[in-house]
């Protein structure tokens, strides 16, 4: 059987050397991801690193629904200062990205008393918003995450990518030309540069995932995007467990089902596919048995909690709507505060 020539061995050695050289710069070369949720994650992280208060007491880590929730409103509800509240809500956020934020930025948990996650079925399932072959996932997944990849071929790819980043660290030429601007000596400077880049429409975005399920960003039926078929992602399940394990003593993780528009609320109960998605999701979360977790379900049949005028679509709020939600959150979490679950937060 033929053997590789000396030139081939040299090529392999040089390639591996280049790979290891670029490994510590993985973060610095983290350009703007193709998927909005991922780029917003990076922006949230950058925002945290630039914040004057790196260890808040209340962290809102919701989805796009809580993106417009003002820290002022939450602070007022709980009688704490605005600086103690940080909102890292990310469109399309899920349990994996939430756990990732805390894994990469553990100082966030130094003083935290409460973490509020708004929950939705898509967060637990494999869908267009999250697959095990997203370049972002492949770049930042832990070894454990990669073991949890369900499909054997995808799992093999997840581990291969550690050695040869064929999926996670590809950049087009324009991206490579842009990369040196991110090579700043400190994370704070890189964060500042990154935030400037992400606001510039001319900035290059990274290529998206391979073998991705067909995406329809203008989904005619958004409902099925919010509550996709219940194909549970073990990575998300594990991430939720990890999130719970990360909670420092005395900190509470609030998983909050926020009100949805009344027609969508009805659809979740009546449409077979949506109902299956919602029911399995709710069941999974209600079965979580941890003193650090509290589930809050703010159902909205007939718009009793938030009227139709409070919504811009089935799930997102107007300014009036989010103000109502803020009050509802305060009221819903008040019992926990009064039980002394959060020693740092004043009781009513």
């Amino acid at each position: 059987m033929p053997r590789p020539a000396p030139a081939a061995w040299l090529a392999l050695g040089l390639f591996l050397a280049a790979r290891f050289l670029l490994l510590p710069f993985s973060d610095a070369l983290l350009l703007i991801p193709e998927q909005d949720a991922d780029s917003l994650y990076n922006a949230a992280e950058a925002q945290h690193r630039l914040s004057i208060q790196p260890s808040p007491r209340v962290i809102i880590l919701g989805t796009s629904r809580l993106g417009i929730l003002s820290p002022d409103c939450v602070a007022e509800q709980w009688g704490i200062s605005t600086q103690e509240v940080a909102n890292f809500s990310i469109a399309g956020n899920n349990f994996w990205r939430s756990a990732l934020l805390f894994r990469r930025n553990p100082e966030l948990l130094d003083r935290v008393d409460a973490i509020i996650l708004d929950i939705f079925p898509f967060q637990l399932y494999t869908s267009i918003l999250f697959t095990e072959e997203d370049p972002f996932f492949l770049r930042l997944a832990s070894i454990e995450d990669r073991w949890m990849v369900r499909d054997p071929l995808a799992r093999f790819k997840a581990f291969s990518d550690l050695a040869v980043p064929l999926w996670s660290e590809r950049h087009n030429l324009v991206g490579w030309l842009q990369a040196p601007t991110l090579l700043r000596p400190t994370p704070r400077e890189r964060s500042g540069t990154f935030l400037r880049l992400i606001q510039d429409p001319g900035s290059a975005r990274e290529p998206g995932a391979t073998d991705k399920p067909e995406r329809n960003p203008q989904a005619q039926d958004k409902s099925s995007g919010y509550a996709p078929p219940p194909v549970i992602s073990q990575i998300q399940v594990q991430a939720l467990r990890k999130l719970i394990d990360l909670m420092p003593e005395g900190c509470k993780l609030f998983l909050v089902w926020l009100p949805v528009r009344e027609d969508f609320d009805a659809a979740l109960r009546q449409d077979a596919a949506l109902h299956a998605s919602y029911t399995q999701f709710r069941q999974h979360l209600e079965e979580l048995d941890s003193p650090a977790v509290e589930s809050v379900w703010l159902d909205n049949p007939q718009g009793t909690l938030v009227a139709r005028s409070g919504f811009v679509d089935e799930v997102h709020y107007t300014r009036q709507g989010i103000a109502t939600v803020c009050t509802l959150l305060g009221e819903a979490l008040r019992p926990a505060l009064d039980r002394g679950a959060l020693p740092g937060v004043p009781r009513s």
Binding site: A7, A8, F15, L22, L166, R170, W176, A209
Partner: protein
């Protein structure tokens, strides 16, 4: 499965080691099985079509050999042509001809109600039907004896490295290699691996890197600036070359690792000084197939210049139609037929000799001018080749011509297309200039020191790992 997919790498990682462990007879069986798995991975239903084409031509060839009567032999070869072209025509051209007939009838005031079929085009059908047909025609002509080994013949038709996008092999070249035992030498392994590496660089780094810009320009040409249309055209010119040539290099490299030599399909075509030379360097397996099985039987260059021009035009029209069932491809073929006819006229019909590189400064200047003109003439045809409709093609051309003046007048910002195009053009030059000059097939000959070759290979690997547009860019020629 795409050559640039992970599953193909796994496929090869299984096929090759087992291949090396087997005896010759078992190697052929193994390769045949692997080839059917390879093809069936796309759509297992079309394996029956592949098997049908194989069985028909095998039996017809055997029949021809057993038939001393020339008329019977003629009937059998005609049957092979009818069956192969029939399969191809049905799956590829049925709706095209029905659609064209409907338009023609409507223009005459009729309201036709012609049936359209929902057909899936089997991958590679244009390639394997031509390859199989060439075998029966060669048997008819007495050039190739009919094989009595069905396994060897089935492997000749289905051989996976070249099954779905060529090169279109000849039985006289490929069958003997299949039928006799093979030994893979160290040199074959080294050069095969090199071909694979550069093939992937061409496909994954260059072609896929340029694809988004070409697609952006061609998708809505009327909303693009003149500069972007020019850039988009150049991007496509390099994209289609590197996509197809890259595939061919990978196919040849993989095949060489198994001790089987496939024909060279591209020889630095954009270094051509004239259109005749271009067709000696571009998709060589198809151009020689068309020459041997269409142009020459039509009469070739016999019967005077008018007849020759006619034969050239018919051949190129057929070549255009081979690429796709659309009038844009027919126009593409017609333009090349026109170019070839004009070139024949300008050269007075004399035979164009073997091309050599210039050896004086003036020679280089002349060469450069001729090459640029030829390249742009070819680019003009790419507009029709790439555009979705004739209307889009005319819009594109119009936008480019109008944009010529704005190239120098407006302060167009350098978009992502320009640096990517320059970078890819430099890569293409680096990959092709050496082989063009030396006549060798790879950019690095064995005379280059091993450490320099190692560094160049490392650069290729780094480019592959770190510079890539999203996968899913199909090999363009798969649609043929």
């Amino acid at each position: 499965m795409l050559f640039s997919s992970f599953i193909f790498v796994l496929f090869l990682a299984i096929v090759l080691p087992v291949y090396y462990l087997l005896s010759h007879r078992l190697q052929n069986l193994w390769l045949l099985l692997a080839s059917y798995v390879f093809y069936g991975y796309w759509d297992w239903r079309f394996l029956s079509l592949l098997a049908l084409s194989t069985a028909v031509d095998y039996l017809l060839a055997r029949g021809m050999e057993a038939a001393p009567d020339p008329r019977r032999r003629k009937v059998l070869v005609a049957l092979s042509v009818v069956v192969n072209l029939g399969i191809l025509g049905f799956f590829k051209y049925f709706n095209f001809f029905v659609g064209s007939a409907a338009i023609a009838l409507e223009s005459m005031g009729m309201e036709p109600n012609l049936p359209f079929l929902q057909l899936v085009l089997p991958v590679g059908i244009s390639f394997y039907t031509f390859q199989s047909m060439a075998y029966t025609i060669d048997v008819y002509r007495g050039i190739q004896p009919a094989t009595r080994d069905p396994i060897s013949f089935a492997l000749y038709v289905a051989y996976f490295p070249q099954l779905v996008a060529g090169p279109i092999e000849r039985a006289t070249r490929l069958l003997p290699q299949i039928q006799k035992p093979r030994v893979v030498t160290q040199d074959q392994w080294n050069s095969g691996a090199q071909l694979i590496l550069w093939g992937y660089v061409k496909k994954v780094v260059i072609a896929d890197g340029l694809a988004p810009y070409a697609d952006a320009a061609f998708s809505v040409p009327e909303s693009q600036s003149g500069l972007m249309l020019w850039l988009g055209l150049y991007c496509f010119a390099l994209q289609i070359y590197c996509d197809f040539a890259g595939y061919s290099d990978i196919a040849r490299g993989v095949s060489r690792l198994m001790g089987i030599e496939l024909m060279e399909n591209f020889r630095q075509p954009y270094f051509s000084r004239n259109i005749t030379e271009f067709w000696r360097r571009w998709h060589i397996s198809l151009s020689t197939w068309l020459r041997d099985y269409l142009y020459i039987p039509l009469g070739g260059n016999r019967g005077g210049p008018t007849r020759q021009y006619r034969n050239l035009m018919i051949t190129m029209l057929f070549g255009g139609l081979w690429h796709g069932a659309a009038w844009t491809f027919v126009i593409w073929g017609a333009l090349h037929g026109l170019y070839l006819g004009v070139h024949k006229y300008l050269t007075g019909g004399r035979k164009i000799g073997q091309e050599t590189s210039p050896d004086t400064p003036l020679g280089w200047l002349s060469y450069l001018a001729n090459t640029l003109v030829t390249f742009h003439l070819v680019c003009l045809t790419w507009i029709f080749f790439r555009a979705s409709t004739l209307s889009d093609a005319w819009n594109y051309l119009g936008g480019m011509l109008a944009g010529v003046f704005s190239l120098f007048l407006n302060g167009e910002l350098i978009s992502g297309a320009a640096p990517t195009l320059v970078f890819c053009a430099v890569l293409v030059f680096l990959l092709d200039f050496g082989p063009w000059l030396s006549g060798k097939e790879t950019p690095l000959s064995s005379r280059v020191p091993w450490w320099a070759r190692g560094m160049a290979y490392a650069l290729g690997l780094i480019l592959l790992a770190y510079m890539r547009e999203p996968a899913g860019e199909v090999f363009l020629y798969f649609q043929f």
